[in-house]
Symmetry: C2
């Protein structure tokens, strides 16, 4: 018996029908040339035949009946892989649209607490012959960054390398073949947690009290927006890839970071979307941008912070918006640089703690938002990766939304691409997929302007 | 605002992650001759285009945040049909096996309480060119019998009749075309509730107290069995059709009712299954068999009762088992016949009330089972039915399982067939689909013996 540690426990305690606390990812693959129609099914069957399941994927919550303050992890000695590993298909015509619709529904349903808290779904029936993989892992097992990293455990840089153990198989970092070192930078950052939900336990422990004691000022004031409302349990998911090269050209022209360009794309897209919805606030939207703080200690773990950036959505000109973004990011980073790590953590905690509270008490409407949206940039693989010869075309993160935070934008690099994953409350954020069109237009606007 | 009536309220209050309180049904259809590959998609789109949604399908729970004793129904003025109506596909090869696996997963996930409590999923990709429809309705909206009836609202006896309003469209009994009178007997029995879960609210209201006051003896004692354990949230579903003619031949030879033969099939199948699992109790399994009591009042509503029948599973000979079934059913009916309606209801309530209690408190392991399994026979259509020209080949009910009651067998007539729907807790009832093979063997045994 193994008491669940407080941060992980919080994700279980906070979870409700309306607030599933799992993270997910959608991966798109092109099967190797000449492979038959059973390629996806064969992968599915190879997962089912995996002889061993790693400890973290065998863990389940000890007793749903126990008092909520004493949840334990127990080892599920008899993991039913046919429950956790699934094979599905898209309805005709099998476009990306049908895929996103399907993933939206899956991401809105709760994991079964009587079982280890993960699922993987291999999806065939895409009209272009590709296949997809949707994975869902409870945040009590892994935060968003670790989850994405875990998914990549069975991927290799060599397309001819077959029969790599599945991501849920036991593995030892020291006995990996060298061909898998492409993303060792990610692996060594095992405790890196850049997603917002990952900050919340810190908020719970450090919270307002520390922030107040430190007298840390909140530098920006967020307007109320359609994204800062109580949410329902259903989700809408959308994802798309952009060539990094296009963003790099803009960042070079503007002498800003790649992430500033990402924020600029989001800014333009959110402005267009809010105008369409007749819901653009007069004041600019404020984005929470998780950042990695300095390294702490010999174990290589990173502390996680977050800065607030104005997205300048009140301005019509894309370059004016970029200016506001780079300016507020610079202020935030300077402020963060002048803080001790505890202060930085406390500041980050203060940003997100209203959400931790509102998720439990449902009072979010009474708390003015500290920020309007989370835009999280997670490091991904830098080289093309393969799964049993199938090329990974995209990894689209599906994160967590909460009361008061109905939209989350998480992106990750993948070889020559940046892959965006958008997740929203289905009721509060209608036509979420239109944000993809607006992201493309916003990038085009920046390209034209520079 | 509209307070939710106590019986319906109970299904909401009792519901938890492990105890979804929805009923479902799987329907199989053969598209009309010469229809193209888009037949299922066209049906899906015609459902999405339905201009109006009937009151009961617009209702949602007023406030999930309200105190649990004051839930209300509110009218959802903006029903998002694209959430409730879904189009899916089976993975290759698209056998019935893949269909049942998919429905098993769907039946284990909770409906979203922020929305009207129903879903319909049209499934294409069956290898034989047929398509399927899985529907899920919360028991607070409709009990199992009414739900099956509702599904049939858009079905007609005339294969050339097209564009019948969908089952969730508003309709008025008096303005139906005459061609839909095939199952008017079902429709007039609108308040008939023959599924076990439907009895539980009566148990809550009448309960043990009445049963004790009436001094009603419990005639049979059930053994502990693998079916009478706490359950998890995941489900396994299986369904299959049998020709009524085959059962009729047996019932004529044995001079018993068709339902006795159904119980005989279940008896043989459960015995074989439990032997395989090395879990056959020494004493015979006891089945709860919901029955309709006499008519009450002018509105044509029926009261619902239940009798206990021994399934004789301790006996190896199929005719010995049939004898035990018919004998105990006769005793139960005789006893029921000598009771007032209140007594009969109280008796039925006493049978099921331990489950109502155990579902809330989780104490089922301390309460010895009153019965081991529910076998519920629900009247269905007596003539072949069609949906926009597609022939209904089968209706397989998916009911509710509970703590202490991990297996439910519900069957319904459909023209010349009897369609069995089996639902079980995925963890407690492994290899549920083997019961289908055993049901066929059990029927063959009875055919050989008579």
């Amino acid at each position: 018996m193994n008491l669940i540690a407080p941060p992980d426990y919080m994700f279980l305690a906070m979870e409700s029908r309306e607030h599933p606390m799992h993270v997910g990812g959608l991966e798109l693959f092109t099967p190797p040339h000449g492979s038959g129609p059973d390629f996806a099914r064969n992968l599915y069957e190879s997962l089912l035949a995996e002889p061993k399941v790693a400890n973290m994927f065998r863990r389940r919550v000890g007793s749903a009946m126990a008092t909520p303050r004493a949840l334990t992890w127990t080892d599920d000695s008899d993991v039913d892989l046919s429950y956790h590993v699934r094979l599905s298909a898209l309805p005709r015509p099998g476009r990306i649209r049908e895929l996103l619709e399907t993933v939206s529904l899956w991401h809105g349903s709760l994991l079964d607490r009587h079982r280890p808290l993960w699922e993987i779904n291999i999806v065939e029936g895409l009209e272009d012959g590709r296949f997809a993989v949707y994975t869902k892992i409870h945040h009590a097992l892994a935060d968003g960054v670790s989850a994405l990293k875990l998914l990549q455990n069975s991927l290799v840089t060599d397309p001819s390398e077959l029969h790599v153990p599945s991501f849920f198989a036991p593995r030892n970092t020291s006995d990996r073949p060298g061909s898998r070192s492409a993303f060792s930078a990610i692996r060594t950052a095992a405790k890196l947690s850049l997603d917002t939900a990952g900050i919340i336990p810190h908020a719970g422990r450090i919270g307002f009290k520390a922030a107040l004691a430190e007298q840390v000022p909140l530098p920006l004031r967020a307007p109320r927006s359609m994204f800062n409302v109580p949410i329902g349990g259903a989700r809408r998911f959308a994802g798309q890839s952009w060539r990094i090269e296009r963003l790099k050209t803009v960042s070079t022209a503007l002498d800003c970071t790649l992430n500033d360009v990402v924020l600029g794309m989001c800014s333009g897209a959110l402005r267009s979307y809010l105008l369409e919805q007749a819901a653009l606030p007069e004041k600019p939207l404020i984005s929470l941008v998780p950042v990695s703080l300095r390294q702490t200690g010999a174990n290589g773990s990173n502390a996680v912070g977050a800065v607030l950036a104005s997205l300048g959505t009140h301005k019509a000109d894309p370059l004016d918006r970029m200016q506001e973004i780079t300016r507020t990011i610079a202020i935030a980073k300077e402020m963060m640089g002048g803080l001790s790590q505890l202060q930085a953590l406390a500041l980050s905690a203060a940003f997100v703690s209203p959400f931790a509270i509102s998720s439990i008490t449902g009072v979010s409407q009474a708390v003015p938002p500290t920020f309007n949206v989370v835009i999280s940039n997670v490091p991904g693989p830098t080289q093309p990766l393969y799964w049993n010869g199938a090329r990974l075309d995209g990894i689209y993160p599906a994160s967590i939304v909460m009361d008061g935070l109905a939209l989350n934008i998480t992106l990750t690099s993948n070889a020559d691409n940046i892959d965006f994953g958008l997740i929203g409350c289905r009721r509060s954020v209608p036509h979420l997929q239109r944000l993809l069109l607006h992201l493309e237009s916003a990038l085009q606007d920046l390209e034209r302007a520079t």
